[in-house]
Symmetry: C2
Subunit: 556 residues, 2 copies
């Protein structure tokens, strides 16, 4: 997988081509008097839910069914329909009860201006994917012009939410990790699919949602074989996302893969699944895995006039009837000088219909006006500048726009859910107290180890420093706590912070290593302590191995 | 060191407090007819340099000395002075030769608007440091309220440069890595200074610059002892920056530490040094290491009304005359309800002069108007709400604003210089060709290893896949090249990309490992190949160790 880092500030042309400038909007209403802004769909949803919950005894069955219907269709309502519903139900601004404006689209991108002139609008990227698409030609070249391949980007994305809420779940700036896997649309098999085909986990296909069933365990291989999941590559990434999430510590019983309904999916998407994790806010969309077909590359290709395509070389040449566009570079060079390369690229990028129309005009009138989008203007093409024909020729390759399969990870949401799934409490020694426990696996715990001198004395503190230096040299994150706080309290504190291990220096020559979840302890020599800790923190040994290899003491 | 990640989109209040909204500007002139923008100081500098170079035979000694003087003072010229010089010299717009506007300040921050109301201006952060300062109170708490400690942030910074130039050296979006090390202003010693005190490297102190000398090798310990470098902690970070840069591969003969002249430094800074690296564009400022004193924390404290201070507990209480401000929380709570906490904090943050003035007014008039900046409005404080006095009391602690020492790394600039310092050419086999060589050390090379089947056959390709899987499992970045290109060309290609090692699969049971710089080769069994590679790539073994341990073949 190729890694790439693109700028956050993005020129308008890129986000115009991707559709974000025109369509990345939420419908907003304003409090007529205070000017406070609200998301129109949220107000309507809250109204319907409230009514169904609080007034269920007073409303008729028909009214209830109408409200449920509105909730089901919420995402499909047009601006006008939303406005009519808000009027019909007499919904007013929360708190003030003032009347509301009509809904209108509010673009969620942060706008800015690039350069000193004030003439170049730009936006903070709303996702990291577009940077990969506009760099497709270079990435394809770096990959030796071979498909399939993927490029990935981890970085900040920016959405000027109307109402940020739910802690880290809906924020205006967040970390996205996106993979764009480019694949031949005629062959979406995946060579490593067999590695994940036997996985079984909770899936919630479209049909199950529409028929009121719940998510159920399905074998990934079967889901692909039956066509529930559109293709092998999409299935492969769904499997890898499942493995990733469960490996970092997400509870597999509170993780499901939900397929988008037809009305949720963009018209061009072939199939789309969300990894949803259950937490206190409900089922939270944390990873989207979509087959976006050739849409993105085609959109940028059309607006930029730069072909974003791949080639398949044939073993044997094939004879086909083909559109042949041959710009006459010499004549174009004389006519357009420095601009001629852009004219050539635009001529070559013409689709069949446009090219044949140009051919006809050139034959009848001898010249034609031609819009070159990379120049932003019309140029006059004369008959001598280009030859266009349809010929039966031997072709040695197929040229096509790759499909893209996109797993997109909301890192903050995953971290939030992981924290909830990892948190529990257990009784303290006093009996009536409950102590917090954050069971981060050593793999994900930001801090792998605490180092505690048992009591404040020079000898133990020296030992702690020696161990800390060894841990630093082998890059194990840790912290020394030299405070005189009782060892029990220091353990409780580090359990609550999710630190999986503690090394307590309680002699000249040896130390105690304590594991957080079992509270079990082993005795290891001072010299070996850092290397044992690194083995168990990096997964080369399990805690059971350590337990079996050293003198130990159970907490039970 | 605590790591922190703050948002890029920053509310105006933060950057108003830091001074960026008012002062983070460059002086700009516009072409009167086309509107094209230029940096005023760049035009004046180019004019002077041009004149000195091209017309040195025709201008008088006085004129030459005047031009040199302008160049020396360039950074100190006011907006008006710059404008007068441009007029005096008759400087016109490059290319068009049109007249220029008067210079005016252009703020280099990208501006945007936060939220849907349009009422909350924000800016893309021009540096990562401010996020650390505004979070000082929490960071200090996380560090157990102990000084010294440091917080670090790696992330994007944004500057809307008037004219980006010189490849990656002056761009509008770039990666900064900043450390803010907070220290007691009365004790800037550093416990680990002795680890770096004996380093000797090129320094260019202020006096040497002013007296026309060049940079020379100075021992770090002596530079601190003589006061050339202001204090031990600043010296410690200078030493660590030197070790870092040379370890990643910067040539120590093209690296110098240049002290800021008095006119380059902010008025509050105690001392400031730049790590400058020589490359084809000249000496490039890549890391700044500054003692910014207490300026930043005080600025945010004053504007926010939140005390950003540290405490030193005394072993024995001391008797001093002290300002005592005691807000009466009960009465304030009744008067200001939900706001009362902010009022309390603002009262407690008053300086002596303000507090004594309030005391006088309360005594004479019984109440006083008081501006609470965190509320953005005046409140009326009555006599019963606060008691203010100066008392001789025993104090148990000293409260002070920490000084901050800031090493700030321009990652793109460092990477650019590293690429230049690592690049060389050497003759190919043909004799008349020169092959590129990028000598990235295994530590920094993004790709550690290439895996080559010697020729295209199934057996070697299988072996290559086995090795690739082993390398993946131990997280060694690598790439297989299965093309039929000759092995010599594949080596040349990977040398040019800076890949330090290649594994060539040329038998069923063993492989050749080749080192890039020496071109030397060793034979290793197929089974051992990945682990040998990982040892040498991660620095556990040197290439000399590998060479001595296996059958080998020199390229000579």
């Amino acid at each position: 997988m190729l890694e790439i880092e693109c700028p956050s500030v993005t020129p308008e042309a890129v986000l115009k081509a991707s559709g974000h400038v025109d369509k990345f909007t939420d419908l907003m209403v304003k409090d007529d008097k205070t000017g406070t802004c609200f998301r129109a769909d949220h107000l309507l949803r809250d109204y319907c839910n409230d009514k169904l919950e609080k007034d269920h005894l007073t409303i008729s069955a028909e009214q209830a069914s109408e409200l449920k219907n509105v909730l089901a269709l919420l995402e499909d309502l047009s601006c006008q329909e939303l406005g009519l519903k808000i009027k019909e139900y007499g919904i007013t601004a929360p708190h003030t009860k003032n009347p509301l404006s009509d809904p209108y689209p509010f673009n969620l991108m942060f706008q800015t201006s690039i350069g000193p002139s004030g003439q170049s609008p730009g936006y903070m990227r709303p996702e990291t994917a577009q940077g990969i698409f506009v760099n497709f030609r270079d990435l394809y070249y770096y990959n030796g012009k071979k498909l399939p391949f993927a490029a990935a980007q981890v970085g900040q994305a920016f959405r000027n939410e109307i109402s940020p809420r739910q802690g880290p779940l809906r924020v205006r700036e967040f970390t996205l990790a996106e993979i764009e896997h480019f694949v031949d649309p005629e062959n979406k098999s995946h060579p490593k699919f067999s590695n994940v085909a036997e996985l079984e986990f909770l899936m919630f296909p479209r049909e199950a949602q529409l028929s009121g069933q719940s998510a159920k365990k399905i074998c990934l291989g079967e889901a692909v074989a039956k066509g529930t999941i559109n293709n092998e590559t999409l299935g492969y990434f769904i499997g890898r996302v499942y493995l990733f999430l469960t490996k970092i510590g997400i509870d597999k019983n509170r993780l499901r893969f939900r397929q988008h309904l037809a009305n949720e999916m963009a018209h061009y998407a072939a199939d789309c699944w969300d990894a949803e994790i259950e937490a206190s806010y409900g089922w939270i969309e944390c990873v989207g895995i979509a087959d976006r077909s050739a849409y993105d590359l085609q959109a940028h290709s059309e607006k930029s006039g730069v072909a974003l395509v791949a080639e398949e070389k044939f073993a044997e040449p094939k004879e086909v009837e083909q559109l042949v566009i041959t710009p006459v570079k010499k004549d174009l060079g004389i006519a357009f000088k420095g601009d001629h390369k852009k004219v050539v690229e635009s001529l070559e990028a013409m689709k069949e219909q446009e090219a044949m129309a140009m051919k006809a005009t050139l034959e009848s009138k001898g010249e034609v006006e031609f819009y070159v989008c990379t120049l932003g203007k019309n140029v006059t093409i004369k008959k001598n500048m280009v030859s266009i024909s349809k010929e039966r020729t031997k072709v040695h390759q197929r040229v096509f726009t790759p499909s893209v399969i996109e797993p997109s990870f909301g890192i903050g949401r995953i971290m939030y859910c992981l924290s909830e799934h990892s948190f529990s409490t257990r009784p303290g020694k006093a009996g009536d107290e409950q102590l917090g426990l954050l069971s981060f696996s050593p793999l994900v715990a930001p801090m792998k180890c605490m180092v505690f001198p048992l009591v404040q004395n020079q000898q133990f503190e020296e030992g702690a420093k020696v161990i800390s230096e060894s841990l630093t040299s082998i890059r194990i994150s840790h912290k020394i706590d030299m405070t005189g706080t009782s060892i029990g309290k220091r353990y409780a504190r580090s359990d609550e912070l999710g630190v999986p291990f503690a090394i307590t220096v309680d002699s000249d020559t040896s130390v105690t290593i304590r594991e957080r979840d079992s509270k079990d302890q082993v005795r290891v020599s001072l010299k070996e302590a850092a290397s044992v800790l690194s083995s168990v923190a990096e997964g080369k040994m399990t805690w059971q191995d350590v337990w079996a290899s050293f003198p130990h003491h159970s907490s039970e």
